[in-house]
Symmetry: D2
Subunit: 308 residues, 4 copies
């Protein structure tokens, strides 16, 4: 098995290694300048806020298909404990164990490597068990706040959810831009709605897992041309899965994370956002999607919020 020629050709065209210097660890997040963030805040009109994270629970989206990627396990280490004696205040404390890529999350750039490298040409073996990722770990990112744009592909195509074999192509993105009434610009965080999340929300996490609609291998060049800062979807696999091209496993992951240095989000619940955007006929908003700064981690749960 090896990388298809088409993959290698696209990789060359979208590669951002060195673009922000040989020491850079942030990739396309560099595109979110203060001015971009300021303009993003200026989109706020009503103060309505829409959260985008799924609840963190054992009933989360993981099915056991991906080894080690466990749903959050919540347990108690104290319940109404009167630590200071009888008739004093009582405290309750919780502990959680979870895979960082299990729920609504960001993949950090080193989550994927190919041909021995991660983003910016760093060696893949700079990721270790004792230290995690030495470069571009999620903890290297100070903040993720920018303009968010919902590209509601399902709504633009007139369906509740895309068929499971639908590869989202640039034409879909542009149809959704048309619906949105705004054009994706440099530094934006683009949220792609397929509607596939409805399967999970209706209780069928097995069907949600895969097969899944998702981004086509033709989209990285589109995001590259638009200087998108980050992309998130409402699916487990992010890209169409199984892949469009035989053996091109996680090709979009590799192009985004390794070649472009562009963060990607998965399992974002875009259903309430879709409703909110349609009600307001506005598909742009201020998006805050702060990573939890787990040192050395290759991903993080995230609780994004869209502010209209």
């Amino acid at each position: 098995m090896s990388f298809p020629a088409e993959f290698l050709a696209i990789a060359k065209r979208v590669n951002n290694w060195g673009r922000w210097g040989s020491e850079d660890e942030l990739g396309t997040l560099n595109l979110i300048t203060d001015e971009v963030a300021r303009a993003a805040a200026a989109t706020v009109r009503t103060g309505r806020r829409v959260p985008l994270a799924l609840p963190l629970t054992q009933q989360g989206v993981q099915t056991g298909l991906i080894p080690g990627r466990v749903n959050p396990l919540h347990s108690m280490v104290a319940i109404n404990w009167q630590l200071f004696g009888p008739d004093t205040v009582a405290t309750s404390d919780d502990v959680v164990t979870m895979a960082l890529q299990a729920a609504t999350h960001w993949d950090a750039l080193p989550h994927v490597s190919h041909s021995g490298h991660i983003y910016n040409g760093r060696p893949a073996d700079s990721i270790t068990a004792h230290g995690g990722a030495a470069f571009s770990a999620i903890s290297a990112i100070p903040h993720i706040v920018s303009r968010g744009v919902l590209l509601d592909v399902a709504r633009a195509r007139g369906v509740d959810r895309l068929p499971v074999d639908h590869a989202v192509v640039p034409e879909d993105l542009e149809a959704a831009e048309e619906l949105a009434g705004t054009r994706v610009r440099a530094g934006d965080i683009v949220l792609i709605r397929t509607g596939h999340m409805r399967l999970y929300l209706s209780g069928d996490r097995t069907a949600y897992a895969m097969p899944s609609p998702g981004l086509s291998i033709r989209t990285p060049e589109w995001f590259h041309a638009r200087d998108t800062a980050a992309v998130a979807t409402d699916t487990l696999t992010f890209e169409i899965f199984p892949p469009e091209i035989p053996n091109a496993w996680l090709a979009v992951h590799a192009l985004h994370l390794v070649e472009m240095g562009m963060l990607q989000g998965q399992n974002w619940n875009l259903e309430p956002l879709s409703t909110a955007c349609a009600e307001q006929s506005r598909y742009e908003f201020l998006l805050s999607a702060m990573p939890e700064p787990f040192v050395g981690a290759t991903g993080t749960p995230v609780a994004p919020v869209a502010i209209f």
Copy 2:
């Protein structure tokens, strides 16, 4: 041991039970209306963003003093794993175990009970091991976005950090308001800087733990009068510790969480924020401090961001 009379008298004056209905689970977060959030976004001038979370690591602020409250433990379940065969993309996955109140966090309202009750008069025994908190769990909160105001008490008092026995009183808050050039208003999230975090940042987590400066039992009435939505500090204990009044253990916790239904944050790193505010002579900002929606949890790590 029992509750001091002073505590009970204040409790009566600041009590918010029933104020937002007998079914309410949000407490003072109800004060963050769309209009408050809209006005908060309107404070953004430059797009500068300042993150407020400490790194999540085994070297976190916990010392073992509080049983079960463990620093985050990060481990790997996959490193450059070629799941799809040789010469394919490789993935890395992480797992974490942590106490939800260990690092920069929000306490949910049921984190503390007293006299058998949590906020809004719900029974304390509605918190269970299998379900966590049945009411006012962190997962019941859809979003936390409002105007943030830094009350930089240390700077207002002309010191790098307050002495460890300094109880922050209303006069301190008002001196900091004076410095800030803004008055705390309904729905604000107030960040109280003592400078005590410098001890941890300099490597001394034992000294950071306690004794600690922090809020006086006189401050809940001040926050109540101002209709503050939430309060966070740069200390482990939030309130002055050991307490000002003998046996009044965690009295401010009990007044805020149980009586007022007001969220509180701890271990927020306000040092870079203090610098940013002083540089810009602006102590107000848009604050996004989204809880991770752990179902049933009595707290959550949080990665807050101030947007100027």
Copy 3:
């Protein structure tokens, strides 16, 4: 819903509260005297050793049916880490998160309570989140070594595995005793083979979980009459499940753990033991089944070994 009359009648007859004093935490393990252990060692003839634990892995017997009872999750915190510099020895370290009742395990006596009590009349609310079980925790048991007797009910009944609706009754136990050529006596640890484990071993953990053959509510009196020290089975549910008597949920658990104070084991892999016993025509052996001394725990994984 309440306890069936039949349950209450049996409970009265098998109750051991106070039998070893009001402070006792060990229950029927008291029956394993030094003399019993000495005699058990004297059964050893060949030195052949047969292990009885299932591998500890994410692919364990848990299906998600029992909330919070997660299969072991293994991850790495160091892999070939040269902590002392280049060209030194390198170390690998592991971390695990698991439910203590997830795999081959012992239930400690307080794992089950009924009518507000655990074994020896202790209050059920002596189990807390911060301390675990205050009485009869698994850590209170110094050792579990005695004569083991395999009652191979499946083999005695001439089947590979019992039908899923087969309640194992005293007549089954006695048929297995006949096959074993030994009579169960005071202080023995009795292992009951149903053959149901074959479903899990063949890859079908859903079928293994339930419905399941298992002990009938008629067996506790038999074990009580024989002064059995502990009982383990090759099923997830231990007793017949769903129960024989409507609403008598986990009735055998309650009789064994609460009334008799008798430890019980689940998910023991008795297939290789069955083969070994049949080959040697010997169904008695020295059994070491040491609990891991988790302080305050209501159960423990166990790696039992039969020595012939």
Copy 4:
């Protein structure tokens, strides 16, 4: 930094690679034949049983010195939960997170590598995050039951505990053999008591950690000559620490685990055993020290028991 010449010379003399075939994963455990186990059981005289594990708790021996090696964290996922409705039995369930090398444990052979290899010449990089150790993992060991011999060096030297800079040399082992009245023979598991555990038991885990008395680099040849099956000690570091020879970090680990393929145990509580042996004037016993079969793990907690 590189390996001292003395280390390399000893390594050559004690190397067991290929001794039990090129596919072997068990090393010196091969020396525990059925006959050895049978003879071990024949040492039992009284049935007295002595457990050797420390309690598993957050107050365990780990101090944070070794990154990622966390003491066991016990929490509850159910407490008296009436899963089947009111007035039914109630169940309590526990979860634990722990480092497998944190407490009383066995190191599996791949816990240490040097010069790119683990036992039997296998490549060190056969240990991965997703699979753990591919060879000689703790789960590859079916059972550990043999004759145990306590070499009570502290008692033989007339002290409660050895000085922290005492390297245990072959002469110490032979003085302890003299005291024991038995000679270590092929297949034995040898327990070396330094008395250093008294520091931990008295509450001082910092002093217990290091400096520590322990095995000298001269002892592996002694164990090799005696065909010892496994060795365990009552210290955290197993060998003298800091090492006798500059830069010979964990030299005994490397000789035992990598060269000889001999399992080693640490943090075994040998104090009650020392008392029991002295009282009975017998230092040999049947030892059961079964590993928990964590798939792919490089170590395991163990609850050993000595049966007299």
